[in-house]
Subunit: 342 residues, 4 copies
C-alpha cells in the first residue's frame, strides 16, 4: 500500500500520516521524491483499511501496490536512488551520472598482497577497494579468509591509500564487524536469501551491495533488496554476477539483460561483477565494456598482481595492467552514454 502525498504537503502532514500508519499497527516508510512524497506501508499481510488515511490533510490517494515488492519499486519512487559512499578521496555515487568502479583481490591474503594491489588500483583513479576478509567457500578445507585481521588490513588500506572499502559479511557476527570497518557491506550470492542476514543488514546505516543469487529470478532479487529496505536501510546497490545455466564456456552466464529490467522496475542502482560472472580472465574486459554499454551503474572487478598464486579465484582475476586498460575502455564507453567514471 502506498500513500501519495500532495506535492505541497508539509513535513508535519507527512509525519501525521506516518503516525496514523503506526497507530494502525503498520510501518511507514516516507520516501521523498522530486515532485512529491510517497509513504510506503509495510507490515500488512493483506489489505489495509485506508479510509482513515485518505481523509487526512495532504493525502492525494492510497494506491494498492500489486507487485510483491513495495520499497524497491518505481511505484513508490520514480527517480533513481543515488547511493552515496563517502571515501577519504571524496564521495563515490551509485545510480547517478557517474559509473562507479570497485576493484581489488577476491580475498585479503596478506598485508603485502593487499597493499600491492591497492596501490595499483588507486593509481588508476579508482576510489573503492574490494577484498574479502570472510570468504564463503564451497569446501570447509579451503582458505576461509583472514577474518578480523583482514578487516584491519582493509582499514589500513583505507587510511594509507584513501580508498573506500567494500567487503563481505557472511553472517550476523561478521556483519557486526564488517559494519565497523567497511564503507559498503557486501552480501554474497549464496546469502541472497539468507533472510536473517538481510534483516540484520537493514539495521546498519552503511550501504549494502547485494549480489543476485545463482538462480534468482528478478522478482526474488528485488524481494531480497526489499528485505533490507523493509528494515529501514534504503542504501542498496544491486549486483548481477552471473546465473547458473547449462552453458560451460564460462563459470556462470552473465545476464546483462537484467540491467534494463531492473531499471524499469526499480529505482535502485545496479552494478555488474564480470569476474564472477564469467570466471575467466580473458572475458572480464569485453564483458565489462558490455555491462557499461548496457547501462550498468558500476563494475565490481577482481584484480590480482599474481593470480597464479591467489588463494582464491585466481583464474578470473585480471592483472593490474589489464585493469588500467579496463578503466580506459569503460570510460570511453560510458562517455557514449553521456556518463563519466567515478
Amino acid at each position: 500500500m502506498l500513500v501519495v502525498m500532495q506535492s505541497n504537503a508539509t513535513e508535519e502532514q507527512v509525519r501525521a500520516v506516518c503516525q496514523r500508519i503506526e497507530a494502525l499497527g503498520f510501518r511507514p516508510h516516507p520516501i521523498p521524491g522530486a515532485g512529491r512524497t510517497a509513504i510506503g506501508i509495510t507490515g500488512n499481510s493483506g489489505a489495509v483499511d485506508t479510509s482513515s488515511l485518505e481523509s487526512m490533510p495532504g493525502v492525494v490517494e492510497c494506491i494498492p501496490v500489486s507487485k510483491p515488492y513495495k520499497l524497491v519499486g518505481r511505484d513508490i519512487k520514480e527517480e533513481n536512488t543515488i547511493v552515496r559512499v563517502p571515501t577519504p578521496s571524496g564521495e563515490v555515487t551509485f545510480g547517478g551520472k557517474a559509473v562507479a568502479v570497485v576493484a581489488g583481490p577476491c580475498a585479503i591474503e596478506t598485508r603485502e598482497q593487499a597493499f600491492t594491489i591497492a596501490e595499483r588500483i588507486r593509481a588508476s583513479g579508482t576510489r573503492l577497494f574490494r577484498g574479502g576478509a570472510y570468504k564463503p567457500r564451497t569446501s570447509p578445507y579451503t582458505f576461509q579468509g583472514l577474518g578480523e585481521e583482514g578487516l584491519r588490513i582493509l582499514a589500513d588500506i583505507r587510511e594509507k591509500f584513501g580508498l573506500g572499502i567494500v567487503t563481505e559479511a557472511i553472517d550476523n557476527d561478521s556483519l557486526d564487524l564488517v559494519e565497523r570497518y567497511a564503507d559498503v557491506i557486501q552480501i554474497g550470492a549464496r546469502n541472497m536469501q539468507n533472510f536473517s542476514l538481510l534483516k540484520r543488514a537493514g539495521h546498519t546505516r552503511k550501504a549494502v551491495l547485494l549480489k543476485r543469487g545463482m538462480s534468482a529470478t528478478l522478482d526474488e532479487f528485488l524481494m531480497a533488496a526489499e528485505y533490507v529496505m523493509s528494515e529501514g536501510n534504503y542504501q542498496v546497490i544491486l549486483c548481477e554476477r552471473g546465473v547458473r545455466t547449462f552453458a560451460d564456456h564460462t563459470r556462470n552466464t552473465l545476464d546483462l539483460s537484467v540491467i534494463p529490467a531492473v531499471q524499469r522496475l526499480s529505482h535502485l542502482p545496479i552494478v555488474v561483477d564480470p569476474s564472477h560472472g564469467t570466471g575467466r580472465r580473458n572475458k572480464v574486459l569485453p564483458l565489462s565494456r558490455a555491462a557499461v554499454a548496457a547501462g550498468a551503474d558500476g563494475l565490481l572487478v577482481e584484480v590480482h598482481h599474481d593470480p597464479a598464486h591467489a588463494l582464491s579465484d585466481g583464474p578470473q582475476s585480471i592483472l593490474p595492467e589489464e585493469f588500467d586498460q579496463l578503466v580506459r575502455e569503460v570510460r570511453a564507453i560510458a562517455a557514449v552514454l553521456g556518463r563519466t567514471l567515478n
Copy 2:
C-alpha cells in the same frame, strides 16, 4: 587424507593415531566400519606429511583423497550410514532397510491446525512430524512462522501423539532453539551454502536434514554435508527437493537421478521432498512412488487438512486421505525393492 587401520587394530592404536594427528595440528575423524576403522584428517589445506603416521602400529596405509569431500565419501566409509532418530513411538532410521516417511504441514499456523494434521499423520502409522516454526519466505511481508511459540506446539505434538519432530532452523539463533525442541534439524535449500549455519549445525548432536540448494551441483550438495560433518556431527540426511530449470509445468524439476548418484559416492542417506519438488498436489503421489522406486531412503511430504486456507504452500499440500493412499502405495513399491516402511 585418510588413514586406514588394520582390521585387528586396537582401540588404543586408533586413539594413538588420532592424538598424533592432533599433534600435527589437524583434526582426526575416526570412522569405524564393518571390517576396518578409517581415520579421516581434516583441517589440512594441502598435503599432510604422512611419514610419521604410516609407521605407527595398526596403520595399513595413508591414502590421499582426491575428491573434494572426505567425510561424506564412500572412500572413508563403505557401508551406508544409518541415521537413527529416537521418537516416543520408537526409533526411526534413515539409510537402513526401512524407508522413512516424514509428514506434516508446511508451517505451524495454530495449535488446532497442527494437532488436526498430526492426529491424521499418526493414524497412518507415520512416526515423524514436520512443520515449520521459522519460515524462510521470499517476501518480508508474508507469514514468517510462529517462532518459539510454534516450537512449543511441536513439543506438545511430540508428547500427545508420540511423533518425532523435524523442523527448520534458519539462522544460528533459531538453531539454538530448534536444537532444544526438535529430533531432526532441517536446513533449507536457501541455506544450503550458509556455511556459518552449517558449521553451527555441526556442533549439535541432533540429526540434520540438509536440503539441496535450488541450483546446487552434486559436489556442492555433498560439500555442504561435509561442512556439517567436519565439525563433528555425522548424522546427516540429504534431501532432494527439486532444482530450478526452464521447465514451467512444475515449481521445480525433481531430479530423482541424484538418488543413485548420491548412493554411489556417499554413505549418507538421501530422502526426497516431492511437495517442494513439484509444487503441485496432483504430482505428489506419482513422484513419491517414483522416489521410492528409485531407491530413496525416505520421503518428506506436506499434508494439510485445509490446503485452500494454508498460510503457505497450500497448492502443494496433499489432503490427509491422499496421504493415507500415499503410504499404502509407497509401502507396496518399497516391498518390490525388499524394503519396509518406517
Copy 3:
C-alpha cells in the same frame, strides 16, 4: 474450436458437420470417444463463426479451446489414446493397461551385433526392438548410421525374431524409407521442432514416437505432437528423455514430473527413455523403476552386449543381463499400479 456432438449423433450427422467445416475453409478432425464424438477444427488462426455449425442436427455445442493445442488435449478427447503397434508376436499397446518396453542398441552397427542383441531382447519377452539406422550426431566425423542397410537388418530382425521395429527418421528422405521398414517411426529430440519433418510424419499411417526436445517446455512438446496430428496422424507416443540443466552428475536431467503433467493435459501415451535421460548405465535401472512408478506408459531402453565397443552411447547402454533384471523389476512395480508388462 471444438464441435461436441450428441451422444446419439449419427455418422451421417458427423459427416455433414465435417463437410460444413470444410466448406468454411477449415479442416475437421472427428474424434470418436466412448460417450460422444467431438470434431476438432484446425486451420483457423482466429475465431470461427460457429453459428452455422451450432444449428446443425446432432450438434450439442461449439466450444472455443483456449489452450494453444487442440488435438492433443483432453478437451477434445477425454479417454486415453491407445496406440496399437502390430508386431509379428502380437499387438503391443501404448496408453492402455500394459506398460510397453522397447529395447535395443543405440545404433545398428553390424548384422551380427544387432542379431546378438535382438535375440537377448526377445528372450526377455520384449516384443519391440529399437536401433538406429540414421543417427543424428553432434560431430560430422562420427558414425552416422548404416542408412538403408541398417533398415534392411532391422527388417530381418523383424522376421527372424518376431520383433516390432522402432527406428528414427532424421529428415524427409529418411522418413520415406523408415516408413517402409519400421512399425514405429521415432522423431529425435533435436528434431522436435523440425516442423517440416513433423508435418511429413503426420502423413504416414505408422505410429510416431516423438521425443521431447532438450529444452522444450511442456507446451512446446505438446504442440510438436499437435503438428503431427494436425496432418491427420493421431498415433503419437510422447517420450521424455531428459532435459538440459546445470546438473552434471547425469548427461541430462530426467524430468519424471512430466508424466503426470502430460496425463493431465493430454490423452496421448507417454513413455520414458532412461538411457538418454541419464547417460549413465548405473542409473538406468533405478530410473526405469521410477518412471513406471510415476505412471509411464512404457520404457525405451538401450541395451548392448558389448558397450565398451559400441559405436555410440556405450556408457549409457545396459547389458542384456541387466535388462533381464530391469524387466523383472518394472513388471513388479507395474503390478503395484495394477498394470502389466506388454
Copy 4:
C-alpha cells in the same frame, strides 16, 4: 588431422597433398592463411596414417587436432574469416573491421509492410535486410510465412532498395528456393542440429548465418558450423540469440560471453540477435550496445513500423525511429573499439 605446409610451399605442392589425401579416402580442405597454408583432413573417424603425407614436399608437419571440431577452429586458421556478402549497394563484410547490421521484420507479411520497413532500414544506411518467408512456429495454426511469394517480395526489395537479403530456410526444399533469392541463408535456432539441413547448406555457395540452439553448448554450436564447413561451404556466420534458462524477465537469456569465447576458439565471425535474445522491445537497444561493446561482428535486429499488428514477434520488434537511434549508438560504441559500421 591438420597438414601444415611450409610458408613457401607452392600451389602445386598443396594440390599434390590434397590428391594424396583423397587417394587415402579422406577429404582435404586447403585453407590459405596469411603466413602459411594448412590442409584440414575430414572423413576420418579415427587416426590417419600420416607417414606418407609428412614426407611430401612442402609439408612441415601433420598435427592431430584434439578438439572435436577441425575446420571451425583457430588451429587450422589463425586469422579471422571475413565473410563477404555482395549487395547492390556494395559488399558487406562480417568478421573484419566493420560491424555489420542486418535489420527488418520478423516475417514478410505483405509487399506493402515489407517495402515500408525496407525503405526506413535503407534510409539509416543499413545494407542488409532480414525478413522471413518461411517461419518455424511453435503452433501449426499460426502464420507460417508467405513461402516463395515472400521470397519474391524480398527479391523486389533487393532491386528497389539495393538491400542484400538475409532469410531463413527451414528444410531442404525451402533451402533450394532460398538459395536462389537470398544473399545470406539463415538457419534458425530450432534447426541448429538438423544435420541434414546443415549438410545441404554446406553445398550452397551462399553465406550461411547459423543461429545457436536454445540450449546449445559452445562445442555443439561450433560443431554445427563444422557440419556446414565439412561439406565445403566456409562462409559461415555464427549468431548468438539467447539461451533458455530459468530467468523470466526476458524471453531468453542473451549470453554475450559467448562472443569472446567463440573468438578465442574459432576464426568465424559472430553476430548477435538482441531481438530474439531478449524478446522485449525495451531491451533491444541496451543489449545491442552491449553486444558491440563485447566485440560482436554484427547485429541482427527486428524492426517493424507497426509492431502491435505484426503477425509474429511484435513485442520484440523496435520501431524504425528506435532503429535509427540504435544505429547511432552502436556506431559510437564500435568507434571506441576502433571499428566502423558496415
